[in-house]
Symmetry: C2
Subunit: 117 residues, 2 copies
């Protein structure tokens, strides 16, 4: 898969709250599929569909141990997504910087206008 | 919009290479729609659809100046996406740590087995 295709698959996989919740659950450790399904009030086939999307994006790996096929989190695609978003960091940090600057200006104006004791 | 819905919209918007390229272009400054369309060999209606997805996700704002309605990047949703992904940082950093540890072990084994000069 090309980097662009991997990003497509990763972001598409993350665009669903159930899939994000599954990853959050797996962050606590490998989990059998039946246990993953429990909190979502979803059928096993519905959960299996979500797991397939996550697996195709490389976000989870599934064990081969016959009975419970545990799922584990795979973080490499998250790192790639993080790296892509990080290019835009200056935009959100920039806006906080500007806010901070503005608050400083307000404060120094207030200090000037305050009656001297 | 709830935080979960905002994340759904943001990640879905980022799951397309054209939309990511539009954001990359806007990172260089506000841009008229006609100029955004140029590098993609896409019709204006096709680009407009992408812009609508980005706008619904709050990732761009569109000016109201009649002739060229410039688009600007809005970084707040990227910050939220970044914050979500950041929870998993220890997983990818952890795996590099483990790799590093493994390489150290290999190296010290090699040093042991190396013939003394």
């Amino acid at each position: 898969m090309l980097a662009a295709e991997r990003l497509n698959a990763t972001f598409a996989a993350l665009a669903d709250p159930t899939r994000r919740a599954i990853l959050a659950r797996l962050a606590a450790g490998e989990t059998p599929v039946t246990e993953l399904a429990r909190p979502f009030r979803m059928s096993l086939p519905a959960i299996s569909k979500h797991l397939k999307v996550l697996q195709r994006a490389g976000l989870i790996a599934r064990g081969r141990r016959a009975q419970w096929r545990p799922c584990t989190l795979e973080a490499a695609p998250l790192k790639e997504a993080n790296d892509w978003i990080a290019h835009y960091r200056r935009f959100w940090e920039g806006s906080f910087d500007r806010l901070e600057e503005y608050l400083h200006q307000l404060q120094s104006k207030e200090n000037k206008n305050a009656p001297r004791k």
